[in-house]
């Protein structure tokens, strides 16, 4: 491990196409942030301190011990920073759902990027009679201006660079982040070993159902209901009551907070151990519990899930096997 000039190993955190929730989750470890400060020299964290892209470029390769990278890869600036931080870091962690599997930004993979752009610049309040679209390169009287180019589809971090560890969650819960920091500090002091490269850290090995305190029984669904139309029993499994819950396919680690609050699991912790395609796993689980053997009736029951792709791939589209709809891949209207 390379020590910095003041003896402490270097730490960085960066956000690509993300929302900032991962940064807030890190800061929600409260006093424990002092452990980070005591054991690391923070050299790059755009939200919190003043190191620039040029400073990172000037660092020797591999001089940052640990980088937490959150955010999906939406445009060429995100991709450039992923490559840059991969070169400069010994350990690169895909932090949070966006970097792991695409998260919300990856829902854009159900439309072509042209549709994304056209929608944004022609909304009901947008005054744009000439149909102006932002240009990656544009010349103004004073000189040339440049903004990043959007790629046709959103990608995960490991579809662009090699990732050492995966920490899922939208955002990762603070108690998990605190636990990971404790582990890293122990490793720095020679009191523990890092898990094998490629591991998922800061999360459990089972599904959210295991952490959920609701009672589970045999599921026989005659009708799928929307949450606003049913008063849920607080003690009984949500899926059993006919409201879609992503718990069966989702990795544990969050303490099943949403079902505890009366809201179904939405799957923000990503695929459970051993799941190759998250949406397929959910399709299998949900379809299996439909209580009918008649195709016409099954179809009627399935009409209660009007948006299966949006429900089953809510966080996971970029990380799924198909990754995007055909129209997104080809940048043609759906």
């Amino acid at each position: 491990m390379t020590a910095s000039s003041n003896g402490k190993p270097k730490f960085a955190m960066y956000w690509a196409s993300s929302c900032g929730g991962c940064e807030i989750a890190v800061l929600n470890i409260h006093e424990k942030i002092l452990d980070v400060d005591a054991n690391f020299e923070v050299v790059f964290w755009p939200v919190a301190m003043d190191a620039k892209y040029k400073d990172v470029e000037a660092m020797p390769d591999g001089s940052i011990l640990l980088t937490l990278f959150n955010g999906a890869i939406r445009n060429d600036e995100n991709a450039h920073m992923a490559q840059l931080l991969r070169r400069k870091s010994q350990i690169l962690v895909a932090f949070g759902s966006c970097a792991n599997e695409g998260c919300m930004p990856a829902l854009a993979n159900l439309s072509s990027v042209q549709e994304i752009i056209d929608t944004a610049y022609s909304t009901i309040t947008t005054d744009n009679p000439q149909g102006i679209r932002p240009q990656p390169n544009y010349t103004v009287p004073e000189g040339d201006l440049h903004i990043p180019t959007l790629y046709p589809i959103v990608r995960t971090l490991d579809q662009v660079v090699k990732v050492d560890y995966y920490m899922p969650g939208c955002p990762p819960e603070s108690h998990q982040i605190a636990a990971v920091i404790d582990l890293v500090v122990k490793v720095l002091h020679g009191e523990a070993q890092l898990p094998p490269s490629g591991s998922v850290i800061g999360a459990g090995n089972s599904t959210v159902c295991d952490e959920c305190t609701r009672q589970r029984d045999v599921k026989t669904i005659k009708e799928f209901k929307r949450i606003q139309h049913v008063m849920l029993d607080t003690q009984v499994c949500i899926l059993e009551q006919g409201v879609l819950c992503s718990g069966p396919a989702t990795r544990s680690g969050c303490k099943a907070l949403c079902p505890a609050a009366g809201s179904p699991c939405i799957g923000c912790y990503g695929p459970a151990e051993g799941v190759l395609d998250y949406g397929a796993r959910l399709i299998s689980a949900v379809a299996s519990v439909i209580d009918s053997n008649d195709p016409a009736e099954i179809d009627r029951i399935l009409d209660g899930i009007p948006d299966p792709a949006g429900m089953f791939y809510r966080f996971n589209l970029a990380g799924s096997v198909l990754r995007a709809s055909k129209s997104a891949w080809l940048n043609k209207p759906s």
Binding site: A25, P46, T126, P134, Q228, H229
Partner: protein, 488 residues
Amino acid sequence: MERITIDPITRLEGHGKIEIFLDEKGNVANTYFQIPELRGFERFCVGRQVEEIPILTNRICGVCPEAHHMAGAKAVDAVYHVDPPRTAKLLRELLYSAFYVTDHTTHFYALAGPDFVMGPDAPVAERNILGVIHKVGLEIGGQVIQCRKYGHTVVEMIGGRKVHPCTSIPGGLTKGITEDQRQEIEKMGRWAIEFAQFSLKLFNDIVLGNQAYVDLILGDIYTHRTHYIGMVDENNKTNFYDGKISVVDPDGKRLGKYAPSEYTDWIAEHVEPWSYLKYPYLKKVGWKGFVDGKDSGVYCATPLSRLNASDGMATPLAQAEYEKFFSTLGGKPVHQRLATHWARLIELLYAAEHWVELATDPEITSDNFRTVPTEKPTEGVGIVEAPRGTLTHHYWTDERGIATRVNLVVGTTNNYAPISMSIKKAAQSLIKEGTVITEGLLNMVEMAFRAYDPCFGCATHSLPGQMPLQVTIYDAQRNPIEVLKQAC
């Protein structure tokens, strides 16, 4: 033309950068403030079940997901034509008040505080939260952490999670609170009031007690005469959660108050080809470019705007501060952008007082926190005041409740034009022929947009918390001749 590039700017949704162009003499010819990000929520929320959208739009911003969740909650209530029970509205507003306290605290102490506590020209190594703590005492840092902890505890109790709440659905909430929780919330709220008062006293002693800072606040560099908007209740007092949007002109004259369903009569968005972000402006006045004045449709939506656009604060301690604020600064409206920091603390106090008011309402622990909608879903608008500006969510659905169209006008977006103007004016005032670019100068350009708290408030911590800025100065042949940056 010579060019100074500042990249990246932080403390904004996503990323941003500034291009400053100098003429032959070395004066600022023009500046461009570009936003390089687009994710496309207005497109990919289409096709989704509409009750999902308050959860999807949480992920527009992980610092203020509570704002998006509430605007979305109100929008889906409107879509289903359902009125939640009073307890649901109380609980949502209680969550929202606690969130406001946390969020405004974070911005003031970690972002704004160092400029005033340490001074805009203070050495870079000290001009951050560490320097602040060193100067005012270690206790303060602990208090700021505690304030954040309390705020997020309330958010989790009512919203289900600390970040990205999940409990608002059409017609109300999926859970209520117990009496034990209510007592804990009340206790934390009372502490928050004291903390807010302490923060205002700190500002008074350190900033208002220092003539140099007062001159800076009142100076012309950071002053713009624009329109102002902000949400008010039926008594025209500032309210963050519900009400109508009051619009006042640069002289303080109220042009009108619009209900959420009327926002398209008032707000339009201008597009430029060199940025992904759009520029909202007042439709009835028209887009005249990046200029001040009564005839320009440019408007602000910030804590300062909200105080300018309202007739007062609805709680007593905050109201006293509101009156002191305007009498000190020479009446309404106040145009000095740095005064936004002060306005933010007044809002912090109001949010804390309102937190306790709501926590002590007899209906707050009722288990009647949901109404099941019975009408068919069609279309709805939900507006709240996000800490950084008025936030509008507008959804259209088909008869199954699948979103067919979505329009969002987000907090910081409202301020894109005024921020651009503030940056340009500050750059033009500070960078002139023969100016030597110093760290202090860079910081004073930063201060122009930091007052708006662009979208992201980074919480307190003991890391050096300052703006990353690098200035690269090129000669006429575009060779870099000097690179200055704020060191860590």
